[in-house]
């Protein structure tokens, strides 16, 4: 069983992003946060870092598991956009010492079911960075609503550099030649 993790230092910003379960009116939801569940806030945070192309460095991730919040994969993957993020994450990282063919093969293999935890661990680094970004900018805003609107205004997604496709070809073609 795999899961995603939210760290205790992000508990406050997580709470701010989530409306209390009892608020049924839209007005009340805007006072507390637009999301209805932790998993939705997690997806939101991870997507910010994905847009920025800046996950938390692996070495800077907290080592302590104390007071962490975990969300089971079966629950998390039910969130709107969670599955797309979890798949997309496989294709973000490219290694300098790796050929394009090897890189593609590795990325494709990382989609396998038994690699889910690795992908979610990678996603945790993005979510961590996203929460950090929100936490740092929260002080400048008067409400969660302003924070989210500012985030939309300031964060633009980074387009990745085009891959050199010259060396990529179908081996079947060689067999036909």
């Amino acid at each position: 069983m795999a899961n995603v993790t939210i760290y205790p230092e992000h508990r406050d910003i997580l709470d701010a992003l989530i409306s209390t379960g009892k608020t049924s009116s839209v007005a009340a939801a805007t006072r507390t946060g637009p999301f209805t569940a932790q998993r939705d806030a997690y997806v939101f945070a991870a997507s910010i870092a994905l847009a920025l192309g800046a996950p938390q460095a692996e070495v800077d991730m907290p080592r302590s598991r104390k007071e962490i919040t975990t969300i089971r994969d079966s629950v998390f993957l039910g969130a709107d956009g969670a599955e797309a993020l979890t798949s997309t994450i496989s294709f973000i990282e490219e290694y300098a010492d790796e050929s394009t063919n090897d890189g593609l093969s590795r990325q494709l293999h990382s989609l396998a079911e038994d690699s889910l935890q690795d992908r979610l661990t990678l996603l945790d680094r993005y979510a961590y960075a996203g929460f950090e970004w929100l936490k740092q900018n929260q002080g400048d805003e008067s409400s969660v609503r302003d924070l989210i609107l500012t985030t939309l205004n300031e964060v633009s997604c980074v387009e990745s550099a085009p891959t050199n496709t010259a060396e990529v070809h179908d081996p079947l073609l060689e067999m036909l030649i």
Binding site: V26, A27, P34, L108, S160
Partner: protein
């Protein structure tokens, strides 16, 4: 029947024991109780109704605070009791009701002891003489109830909700006929008179159902006729109050004010709706923003998967197991051809580049989903753009162009939020300022009292029209029911058992007819008795030529004698008409009680002659309070001629008027109020001063003591 005494023990503000001995002499029928405001005049009236019926008069709000507060402070289990002694014929009745501090608020938290000539009797023995239906007539809360309304109305029925028909039937024990009719109706509907379960003839069944339907309609109309007079009286009272309220306002100004009120209220509602819509758009945007942020990464992933396809990693065109076995056997698994050395090299090369088949399939699936994800983003964006464009148009904000992404939409939504908040604040301020404006006289709830009065009057008109037509309707329904029954009876003659049952129903119907006629007769003769009684009573009170006509619904019109013209009445004459109305019932009461006791309803009702010498007592709580001085004198002077016994709690400030009839006052009391908020005041009666209000800082809450002064 005459009241002898009333003993109060810790009842409301009457701390400790207080007693009133009522005047019983024929030429001095009035018992006067003089008290300042707050001394408990209405509480005294309610001591009668509580003791006799366990109920209170309209407007008395202290149902669960009956035990004196000072007594409770001294003893948390303190008791309160009221004992009423009265004489009827030659019998002495004692009715004592008790409660205590713990039980006073609970339903049924009282104990009642009734004795007749010292022997235990029941509540029913008392209610046969003083039926509960007459509570509001014998114990009349004039001050809080309706004297003021009567002054505005056309007749004593206006502004009151008396149901005289019910009162008369109650006095005559006429409800036995109603009960008999109800029992017969139940018997007719019993299963015993229904067709046997194993017998089903469609023709007979149809006839039976048609008859039962007709009977049900008749029954419903009968019940409606019973309830209509009371409903109409209540509606009249409510309409009169609404009319009085409406008269405080100028209808034209009111309409203008109401239109403006609705307009501003509507603006607030609209602004709230827009704020809510903008907030919804923001929430939707926030919830979908992850798609905006992730779109580049998703596009990259799709490009990588496309590249993987170019690299032959997907889709799985040759399964790696086929290649593995081909290499192991050195023979092509597909065509059976032996592999050459070059062939082995090429297949080995291929094997190294072909991905795991399951992973390849997954790659294809994921690429499809990611493409769908991007398509969904386009759809969501388009629908958000549409909503934001609509909101921006409504609020006069720059409209986003057709290619706007979420970043631009967020910026427009932020502006919309600011503008919508400002619009709402402005609308609320305008509405509040308008409501708070003191230069317009208007009701606080924003409802137009003129319109309310019109609606209530329309209801009265509707009920009166229904009342006018209901007798004809019932005759028609009765005819229909009889025809349907005849048809049913005829068709049911096919079997003996069936015919026997319809015959039984026929007998029950005849019996019911008899009781209905008896009830109607009682009501008609009762109305005649009441008309005679009210004419006699009013003539004892007013020196004027008149003719009072009582309608079939017990409505009253006062006509100039010998004509059909309405007689204009002064304030005092209107109040005296109301008092005559109560007096007529009280004068009829002893006659009707005797008729009911002897079972002579059908023989003697309609021939009753009443006079001031015979009648039950009435308790009138402050009957003259809304009157001007000159009219007050007329009413007070007439009261000794009403009944053999009249009990009147009144304000001590009117004492001079009451002093004019002192020779008719058999007993006078002062209800002395002591409290820290009272002022020291005295009242002069028969040349002597008596304290009726005392200031005392140590007495809280207020305390009342009843003292006889003559």
């Amino acid at each position: 029947m005459k009241f002898v005494s009333l003993d109060l023990h810790n009842w409301r503000s009457f701390h400790g024991h207080n007693r009133v001995d009522f005047a019983t002499e024929e030429d001095r029928p009035v018992t006067l109780l003089l008290g300042p405001n707050g001394s408990g005049k209405t509480a005294l009236l309610n001591a009668f109704t509580w003791a006799l019926y366990g109920k209170f008069t309209e407007g008395f709000d202290y149902h669960d605070h009956l035990v004196n507060i000072e007594a409770i402070a001294a003893d948390s289990n303190a008791q309160a009791s009221v004992e009423l002694v009265f004489l009827h014929e030659s019998d002495e009745f004692r009715v004592k009701r008790t409660t205590d501090a713990r039980r006073q608020a609970s339903e049924g938290g009282t104990e009642l002891v009734v004795t007749k000539n010292g022997v235990r009797a029941t509540e029913d023995d008392v209610h046969r003489i003083l039926p509960p239906a007459l509570k509001d007539l014998f114990f009349f809360p004039a001050e809080s109830f309706s004297t003021a309304s009567v002054l505005k109305g056309e007749s004593p029925g206006d502004g009151t909700s008396f149901d005289i028909g019910t009162a008369i039937r109650a006095m005559l024990s006429g409800d036995v006929y109603e009960n008999a009719i109800a029992d017969l109706r139940e018997a007719m509907n019993s299963n015993a008179l229904k067709p046997p379960m194993n017998y089903r003839d469609e023709t007979v069944e149809t006839a039976r159902r048609a008859y039962e339907q007709a009977l049900a309609e008749l029954h419903a109309s009968d019940e409606r006729r019973e309830s209509l007079p009371a409903l109409t009286a209540q509606a009249r009272e409510s309409a009169l109050k609404a009319k009085k309220e409406a008269e405080r306002y100028n209808p034209d100004e009111m309409r203008k004010w109401e239109n403006r009120y609705k307009e501003l209220d509507h603006s607030v509602g609209e602004a709230e709706q827009i704020v809510s819509r903008v907030n919804s758009a923001y929430t939707e945007l926030a919830r979908r923003s992850h798609m905006h942020f992730a779109q580049c990464a998703v596009a990259t992933a799709i490009a990588r998967l496309d590249l993987a396809e170019t690299a032959g990693l997907m889709p799985p065109r040759i399964h790696q197991h086929v290649l593995a076995k081909t290499l192991a056997k050195q023979t092509c698994l597909l065509c059976g051809e032996h592999l050459t050395e070059a062939g082995v090299a090429r297949v080995s090369n291929l094997y190294a580049r072909v991905a795991d088949a399951e992973v390849a399939i997954r790659g294809v699936e994921i690429r499809t989903r990611l493409k769908q994800h991007l398509a969904l983003l386009a759809n969501e964006l388009s629908s958000l753009r549409e909503e934001v464009t609509e909101l921006a148009t409504l609020l006069g904000v720059d409209i986003p162009d057709a290619s706007s992404d979420m970043k631009i939409l967020a910026s427009v939504i932020r502006t919309c939020l600011d503008v919508a908040d400002r619009v709402l604040t402005q609308a609320r301020r305008e509405f509040e300022d308008f409501v708070a404006a003191s230069d317009i006289d208007m009701p606080a709830d924003g409802q137009n009292p003129v319109e309310i009065a019109m609606v209530k009057q329309a209801l009265v008109d509707q009920l009166e029209s229904e009342l006018e037509k209901i007798d004809d309707l019932i005759v028609e329904l009765k005819g229909r029911a009889q025809r349907q029954f005849a048809d049913y009876e005829k068709k049911s003659g096919k079997t003996r058992e069936y015919a026997r049952k319809t015959r039984a129903i026929s007998i029950l119907l005849e019996s019911m007819e008899y009781f209905e006629e008896a009830r109607k007769g009682l009501e008609r003769f009762g109305r005649e008795d009441f008309e005679k009684a009210i004419n006699t009573t009013y003539s004892d009170l007013v020196n004027k030529e008149f003719n009072i006509v009582v309608g079939s619904d017990f409505s009253i019109r006062v006509l100039v004698a010998g004509t059909t013209d309405r007689l204009p009445l002064s304030q005092s004459e209107k109040v005296l008409l109301l008092i005559a109305f109560l007096g007529a019932i009280a004068r009829l009461a002893p006659h009707y009680e005797k008729i009911a006791r002897l079972g002579d309803q059908l023989r003697d009702t309609g021939g009753v002659e009443t006079s001031q010498k015979h009648g039950f007592p009435v308790v009138l709580d402050a009957p003259t309070s809304p009157l001007d001085d000159e009219y007050e004198i007329e009413v007070v002077s007439a009261l000794p001629h009403l009944l053999p016994q009249v009990i009147v709690p009144v304000s001590a400030k009117s004492v001079d008027v009451w002093a004019r009839i002192s020779k008719h006052v058999g007993a006078a009391y002062v209800m002395e109020l002591t409290s820290k908020n009272a002022t020291n005041r005295t009242v002069r009666w028969n040349g002597k001063d008596f304290t009726y209000s005392t200031q005392d800082d140590d007495v809280a809450p207020a305390r009342t003591r009843i003292t006889r002064i003559s």
